[in-house]
Symmetry: C2
Subunit: 361 residues, 2 copies
């Protein structure tokens, strides 16, 4: 064996496939995207090993000191939606999905998003491709009102196949301790409001892709039943809606009364699994099946894939991406406020005594 | 084409390859690992969509309120070290690497690590395998004194090949605004202290793996020159040392004087690239090549791979994983303190007027 014989030509890091220049080029391409998400709370430190974010300003003009701050944090990816993006060669939309999946989880606890970081694992670092992904992340951060504080791009040709990549995101928010929302205040009679989703969002793509394959659907074809000029692949890549600004501004409006008793981000598991996460075990959510519009994309997937109704409701958001349960007296005012902030609001049903389940009627 | 013909058998999420039960089993397996990293600042919320961490305690006993808190945050992976772990079928060590790569970056700014989150992208969710990875992450969090606040495991058989996975980590720390360290206080005459690494840490594995392949090294063989009974693969998987506790306790000891002028975590780029990141452009770091011990693993890689000395110094930590530049008057006291905290400390050299370069002599 060659065991004891060193290679004649000196080995180098570059020779092992790591292109440091490409990394530098990428940094140049993404810097302005990161900067447009910065507010005065981001501290720019040259050569910093980590991003720095000032929690409070002691200056009188900017003061919004927290008495008892709770940091709220979560991580998530966008699942196999990345595979669809790679297939369609559209890379500037999944970044928004990544931010959405995380900040929509943060705000459930009543938190205000502060900052975000992204991790990109990729076969080969094409600066332009990675920059397109980060552009989408920055778009999402702007929509969420948080700073893109840092990120990492790891080139790993032996882990990711050619053209493939994966995304992970991390979000941090803050909430005043006594304003946290954890569902412990839910009561019978609370009204369930649903906010419209922008499409499939970022869950269930393994089933989506299986249906496409099984039913022989064409990602580049325009399907009449989707009621749009966009091809199927574009409709499926529609970025996940970010509910942060509308929800946070609504919560802020009610500074004394706590009118929102619980919230849920509708992700994998659909309404069936996600609403009970904040319900407790003495209430049921009764939801009127006709109270919201199911977007055409779900009807196409259900019909072409011969997917049963129950399975659809358990895998997809079916048109409702975010849920708030609110005190009945305030329901209409809150719905109006959310609608004015740009949301499509459905009055889905109410909470009744029960055992922590969702019941469709 | 099958375009208009839905499959006869109803399609399901499980049928598309997503095993929800495996996810539940994994949650059961990792819960006690997460719990052992919890302190009183972690708020346990059943069904929470995000992890919650209390920044301060207003209660008198626990009060350590920050006057002007800066949140410090970063994200990193462990590079192709995951590939080596997969190859060796050893999964409970790379989690510590993941924590190390992140918290060692955090503390460079003077921050105290608060909490950590991990993302695992994997071909197939074997609960036991994923739990082994998370066990390593929890080990790392205990060593760093931070809470493992959350995580996500994404099963993506179409992105990751069989047996493969990737890891991304995310750390958040806090620093008092006027105690931040950014290298702006460095002065000529400052002494450069180096802390010994535990081995290759988590950088340069693309070159490591190229050398192994090119020189025909055997991961399962014990090499005499490594001066250990452990096979090469085990030596290469030695987890990255976590410097958080010793560095943070040293910084905390000097509450008034700011005796540490800059720090660097030695990662990709070695001392050559990482020390200048906090030097500024009017100082050089002069380092005595004989002032520290180069561990046997680097000598083996250099010799078997015929890698030039300069390249070694630019890719690997070469035995020094962390750098502090300190005021000369305090150098010995700080070195003693770090040694008592368990570090092997080298006095590497000093800062001199220059242009932001590292010069070996």
């Amino acid at each position: 064996m060659a065991d004891s014989r060193p290679p004649a030509k000196p080995m180098t890091y570059a020779g092992a496939g790591v292109d440091i220049d490409a990394g530098d080029r990428m940094v140049n391409l993404i810097e302005h995207h990161m900067r447009r998400t910065y507010g005065p709370r981001v501290l720019g430190k040259h050569g910093a090993f980590a991003g720095c974010f000032r929690l409070d300003f002691n200056e009188r003009l900017f003061q919004r000191n927290y008495r008892d701050p709770v940091l709220v944090s979560c991580t998530d990816g966008v699942g196999t939606k990345v595979k669809l993006a790679a297939q369609m060669n559209i890379h500037d939309t999944v970044g928004q999905d990544l931010v959405a999946m995380n900040v929509n989880d943060l705000i459930v606890q009543g938190a205000e998003p502060l900052f975000f970081l992204d991790y990109i694992g990729i076969h080969k670092l094409t600066p332009e491709l990675a920059a397109a992904i980060v552009k989408g992340v920055a778009d999402g951060c702007e929509l969420a009102g948080c700073a893109l504080l840092g990120g990492e791009t790891a080139e790993m040709p032996d882990v990711y196949a050619e053209g493939d990549f994966d995304l992970a995101g991390f979000a941090v928010g803050v909430c005043e301790m006594n304003r946290m929302i954890d569902g412990s205040r839910t009561e019978p009679g609370d009204v369930i409001l649903g906010l419209a989703s922008s499409g499939v969002h970022s869950n269930g793509y393994s089933l989506v892709r299986a249906v496409i394959k099984e039913a022989g659907l064409d990602l580049n074809k325009v399907y009449d039943e989707l009621e749009t000029d966009e091809p199927l692949g574009r409709v499926l890549l529609e970025p996940t809606r970010i509910y942060a600004k509308s929800v946070v501004s609504t919560l802020r409006h009610y500074t004394v009364k706590q009118v929102v008793s619980a919230m849920s981000h509708i992700t994998g598991g659909g309404m069936v699994d996600n609403i009970p996460r904040t319900l407790g075990d003495t209430l049921d959510a009764v939801i009127d099946r006709k109270s919201w519009d199911v977007p055409p994309i779900f009807k196409l997937l259900q019909q072409r894939g011969n997917v049963e109704e129950d399975e659809m409701l358990r895998v997809f958001n079916m048109g409702v991406g975010y849920i708030l349960t609110v005190r009945p007296y305030f329901a209409e005012a809150i719905a109006d406020r959310l609608a004015k902030a740009g949301e499509t609001v459905y009055r889905l049903g109410e909470l009744v005594p029960g055992s922590g389940e969702v019941k469709f009627r």
